[in-house]
Amino acid sequence: MTHPTDTGVRRRASDRPPALADLLGEATVLEITEQAWTALVGEDEVLVPLPAPLPAVTRSSWVEIVGPWTGTVVLTCGADTAVELTGALLREHAPAVLEDEDVDDALGELANVVGGNVKAVLPGPSVLGLPEVGTTPPAGREANTCRVAVLWRGQPLTVSVQSPAV
């Protein structure tokens, strides 16, 4: 059985990796992110596709995809937004006091879910890495990055699908 999007075309090792722009666009990344938000953060949680500057102190989570296309899916938001996001994600399951570990875990899981669904629309087979969280995500090649900037509860966050900087 072949995957519905499998064209049967195979790459040789000497072939250049596919350009990201040929594989997915901002609309797809936004749709995947919105689906993750609706299901995990809340049905009424709207993402408004409006770019706005990120605050000085940010938190990022990211997952690596390795396959015919290799790169990273990065979620970045303000540190305060990350805490609010964790509370919204856990809802009634949240501990009385949110620890940094809870915030990193929740942010990592969001990157994992978005990354897993981004992987599904890219050519496969690919391997999804474990999520990582920090203040400095891996650098991407700006010319080969698909970035979506949104507002959640009026606060900016970005989701980037990026090829590695060479």
Partner: protein
């Protein structure tokens, strides 16, 4: 009758969400942070009716856990449900071929879990009302 579930995920947040959802349906739950921890729970003798299993986890991933469970005849009654962001068609086929009964792709809703449990005959009667 109490229905038991072992929730296996390396994300504490996701374990809390899945556990909360299942407890809302009347399940008694335990949690494990990876496949190896889950095997330890089974070897203790705490046998659940259902295991929900993430795919990508450190130490022992979800597919390795499914293979380990299916290799042990004493655990053949366990119902295994993948709950994962791995949504490639080939991965779904691999998990089902290895012995998983159902496959839920993250992000999911509580209703999606309820529907799968109903299909598996593992939805406590009070939760199906």
């Amino acid at each position: 009758m109490t229905v038991r579930a072992l929730v296996i995920d390396d994300s504490r947040a996701m374990r809390r969400i899945v556990t909360g959802t299942l407890e809302g349906f009347g399940y008694e739950t335990r949690q494990a942070g990876n496949g190896q921890e889950a095997l330890d729970v089974l070897r203790e003798g705490w046998l659940p009716d259902l295991c929900t299993i993430d795919w990508n986890m450190p130490v022992m991933d979800g597919l390795q856990f499914v293979n380990a469970v299916r290799a042990n005849p004493a655990w053949r009654t366990l119902t295994l449900m993948m709950v994962t962001s791995e949504s490639e068609h080939g991965q779904i086929v691999r998990a089902l071929a290895a012995g998983a009964h159902e496959y839920v792709i993250k992000p999911f809703t509580a209703d999606a879990i309820r529907d799968k449990l109903a299909l598996l005959g593992l939805l406590p009667q009070e939760a199906s009302l």
